[in-house]
């Protein structure tokens, strides 16, 4: 039985063989063996080395991992694919990072904005949180107005990157 992992980029796959689970990751010949899995604790073995991870589910199919003092959240690959599509060449679609209320909209459609410029201010947990432009861009679409409630992932504002001032070639 082979279950393809939903990981988009790495195409890690899991197999069941000899009474154990094995994970194959691309670029690494020898597979990883699942030595123990008592959720959330995982022990993997690879090339004679064992490593311990803590693994827990997150929102939208993401997985939270802890290993060697470090915490990472790995998004569900299809979702990451979608995000990649939204952020097509030279285009930014900024979405709300948390639930909150739109307090201020500081720009208008058509405005040219600098990298780091405040575009929209969202209030959450009694703090004002500015949404800033990631690049020197032109505002193409504003999806919200002052007072709107927004949920995480809601699209707030879309930008097209403006041409660089002086490109060398």
């Amino acid at each position: 039985m082979t279950t393809p992992s939903p990981t988009g980029r790495t195409k890690a796959t899991m197999q069941q063989r000899d009474g154990s689970y094995w994970v194959s990751a691309p670029g690494v010949e020898e597979p990883f063996r699942v030595v123990a899995w008592t959720p959330p604790r995982l022990l993997l073995e690879h090339a004679g080395e064992v490593r311990a991870f803590t693994v827990a589910p997150g929102a939208d199919g993401a997985v939270w991992l802890h290993h060697d003092g470090e915490t990472r959240c790995i998004a569900k690959p299809d979702r990451r694919g979608a995000a990649g599509a939204a952020a097509h060449e030279g285009h930014d679609d900024l979405s709300a990072p948390m639930p909150g209320k739109v307090l201020e909209v500081l720009v208008a459609e058509g405005d040219t904005v600098e990298a780091g410029q405040r575009l929209v201010v969202i209030e959450a947990m009694k703090m004002e949180n500015p949404l800033r432009a990631p690049h020197h861009s032109i505002v193409t679409k504003i999806h919200v107005g002052v007072g709107d409630a927004v949920a995480p992932g809601d699209s707030i504002i879309e930008l097209d990157q403006a041409p660089a001032e002086a490109s060398a070639d």
Partner: protein, 501 residues
């Protein structure tokens, strides 16, 4: 002298747990309150009785004075402890509690009013001979030209601060005279939202300054117990992130002068209860009075570790009219303690609050480690409340030992479901700037601004393999026929459970 029997804790999260536990260890009966959003919160199970005081928004529950006093009366409580935040520095609440015939474990309403207002507090401090930062208090209407003139006199950079504020809310830094009017408006609006009081003032902004504060307890009759100082210079968005006791590399003369200033303030104002006198330590070694916090601070555990005291016990003792044991006045600090605040925030995104369900929570343990947590596995981190999830405190014989233990403790800590400040603080504590006490109040903001965005690191095959296991084995095989892993765990147990009729 009263003897309190049953105490209602008008708070939630880690401070409610710390107070409920501490009160029970002191032999008191306890009452917890909770909002409808907190029916699964750990604090309410720490109490002998729990009462729901309203819907999720704080204004309809934790800030609702009449509901809290009604809960105290219905449960037979004879005292209320406000914790920090919420109503802890609300003079009307203190007055209402006393008017209802209950003991308020905190300062008098008058003290809260005087000290809680930074302008009044500054006047009291100056009267006691303690220097304050050059400042300007606008009268009534905010006039742009006047404000700009005042700012010119003070000298830029200038800080715009809420008169009634705290915790960085309603605070702005103006680097030029021109931007003063806009920033005043924004700060005033934020202050109005947070404290119901939009008054702001201007103050000279001291660059590369440190935040040092003194823990005091007053008996309300002009006597002060001074329990050393804390350094709280590691801040983000003007809120504290890491605190230490005693403050590292602080000249003894400065330390003693700060303690003396704090003592004089408490004695002159007949302050009652625990409080904190905050100072700003300029990079030229001068210090200025900032404000008095008329509550138990978030960071009080570092003082408890180093001075071997229970500040809650002292609060209760003062509230019962018993003062404190005289020998405490000679207490010397022993060792070093550090506290890291675990916030539900994403440091990589400018410390934006992060919400979600905590699907896993692992805290550190062992020698020299104290954890004051307000959440546990399964809890929802919502937008309704402060993003402070927990505090991790480590203690050691000296600063390096305490910090080494903190690095180890943070490495053990794991919260799944929301972004937290843990990893950021771990890296900071390992950094040579932190070790060498080169951190000042704007250090974090400046470092982050200059930091290159971290490259995505999902490619490591070990991490990918581990994630793949989560995606594929995240639930026990429904057929029950797969080769089981060696150790039955919580999810395997579910299968047994499921077999029950």
């Amino acid at each position: 002298m009263t003897n309190l029997k049953r105490v209602l804790v008008a708070n939630r999260g880690e401070i409610a747990l710390r107070l409920l536990r501490g009160l029970q260890a002191l032999g008191k009966e306890t009452v917890a309150v909770y909002s409808e959003a907190d029916a699964a919160a750990p604090h309410l199970r720490a109490a002998h009785q729990a009462i729901c005081v309203g819907p999720p928004p704080p204004g309809e529950s934790y800030l609702k004075i009449d509901a809290l006093i009604a809960a105290a009366q219905a449960s037979g409580a004879d005292a209320i402890h406000p914790g920090y935040g919420f109503l802890s520095e609300n003079a009307d609440f203190a007055a209402a509690v006393e008017a209802a015939g209950l003991t308020f474990i905190g300062p008098t309403a008058t003290s809260i009013r005087e000290m809680g207002d930074k302008t009044t507090a500054g006047e009291i401090a100056r009267a006691a001979g303690i220097p304050t930062v050059p400042a300007h208090q606008p009268d009534g209407e905010v006039d742009a030209a006047k404000l700009q003139a005042a700012a010119k006199e003070i000298g830029v950079p200038v800080l715009v601060k809420a008169a009634a504020g705290g915790g960085g809310k309603g605070m702005r830094i103006a680097h030029s005279i021109a931007e003063i009017p806009d920033l005043v408006e924004a700060a005033s609006r934020e202050a109005q939202n947070a404290f119901g009081d939009g008054r702001v003032f201007l103050e000279r902004y001291l660059e590369n300054a440190r935040h040092v504060e003194v823990q005091v307890v007053g008996d309300g009759a002009g006597h002060a117990l001074v329990l050393g100082a804390r350094d709280c210079s590691t801040q983000r968005r003007h809120q504290k992130l890491i605190e230490e006791c005693p403050p590292p590399q602080l000249p003894t003369a400065t330390h003693d002068a700060m303690l003396a200033a704090a003592r004089s303030l408490v004695e002159r104002s007949n302050y009652r209860g625990a409080g904190t006198v905050e100072f700003i330590l300029a990079n030229d070694g001068a210090f200025y009075f900032l404000e008095v916090n008329t509550r138990l601070q978030v960071e009080h555990p570092v003082t408890e570790c180093v001075y071997g005291v229970d500040l809650l016990e002292l609060q209760v003792s003062v509230a019962e009219g018993r003062g404190w044991p005289k020998e405490l006045e000679q207490r010397q600090p022993q060792g070093h303690a550090v506290e890291v605040r675990v916030y539900a925030e994403n440091p990589a995104a400018g410390f934006l609050p992060s919400t979600g369900t905590l699907t896993e929570v692992v805290w550190p343990q062992g020698p020299g480690v104290r954890v004051d947590a307000g959440v546990e596995r399964g809890n929802e981190v919502s937008i309704y409340y402060d993003p402070l999830l927990a505090k991790i405190i480590t203690y050691g014989e000296d600063r390096d030992r305490a910090l080494d233990r903190m690095e180890q403790a943070l490495a053990e800590t794991f919260l799944a479901g929301v972004e937290t400040s843990v990893q950021f603080c771990r890296e900071l504590i390992a950094h040579e700037d932190f070790r060498a006490t080169r951190v000042h109040t704007t250090y974090v903001a400046e470092k982050l601004e200059n930091a290159a965005p971290a490259p995505p690191r999902d490619d490591d095959p070990w991490w990918q393999a581990a994630a793949c296991v989560g995606w594929n084995l995240g639930q026990p095989d429904a057929s029950g026929s797969g080769p089981s892993t060696r150790q039955p765990g919580a999810w395997d147990t579910l299968r047994d459970w499921r077999a029950t009729p």
